[in-house]
Point group: C2
DNA sequence: TGCCCACCTTGGATCCGGTCCAAGGTGGGC
DNA sequence: GCCCACCTTGGACCGGATCCAAGGTGGGCA
């Protein structure tokens, strides 16, 4: 966990209380929080932290490759701290819950050259949608 | 093309000038237009059509299964009139252009039961991201 | 140890896609 | 041709995200 902070320091991040708190919130439990949820949890520890700073910091973590942005619907983006193991997402269409999943095989292999239209493809996102057990029984 | 209008009439759609124009815009060339683009094209034929009506009509077409909603990024949703042949999307990360593609195999088969966490999975979306030829050369 | 400035934070304004609403208009069944 | 259930309208509103100018501060350097 201070691994993350060390990596960030090593990349020239000026370490401030705000950034530390945001990084720790994400690194704490591996959930898929929205920016507002991150802000709420950060504010629990550092009451005066602003939304703008949370957005800035999340954006930096994303561009450093430490965190992934996941927007599975029109609601708020979610931030996925599990950036270092490739995975896909399983999303509940009702409550929006997200689980990381690890399908077998390489989805990119399924796309023949003739269907690539000259694009330089850099990644593939697979989103499985359905209803989670909680919403099914409710 | 009047196939679409006939299907809609058959489902009890009250046919108004506005709805006809929106349906025709989508059915015309098989592109992936945003709601605003649909509005602009519709307004070219029916100047006083409102944005609200375009949104309403698009929403109805989606819930009738005649059109698919595609939101590949945080920008505006796009509407895909090609709802009757299953396909996936190839998206340019730079300009946002979308192409329909038809990968081989069933992506759902790649997800083992142990990774389904009790979800009732209803569909799978695959989005290939990359840079299109136009943006590569530019 | 202390200074200083480049970088960071702040909150309020602003943007943008989308939705809501109440009032007025109209398709199409009778 | 009438009438009303349904449709359209535009303007207000919403929520997530971003921008901005003003003030604060980490940490390199002396």
């Amino acid at each position: 966990m201070s691994d993350l902070l060390n990596r960030l320091r090593g990349r020239g991040w000026r370490m401030t209380a705000q950034r530390r708190v945001v990084a720790e919130v994400l690194d704490g439990d591996h959930m898929h929080l929205t920016a507002d949820e991150v802000h709420a949890r950060a504010a629990a520890r550092l009451p005066e932290i602003s939304r703008a700073t949370v957005y800035n910091t999340l954006g930096e973590l994303v561009s450093l490759g430490e965190v992934l942005e996941v927007s599975t619907d029109r609601r708020a983006k979610r931030y996925d701290p599990n950036a270092h193991r490739p995975h896909q997402h399983l999303v509940c269409a009702q409550c929006g819950a997200i689980r990381d999943v690890h399908p077998s095989g390489d989805p990119l292999a399924a796309l023949p050259d003739a269907e690539r239209f000259g694009f330089t493809i850099s990644n593939v996102e697979v989103t499985y949608r359905g209803i989670c057990p909680d919403c099914t029984s409710a």
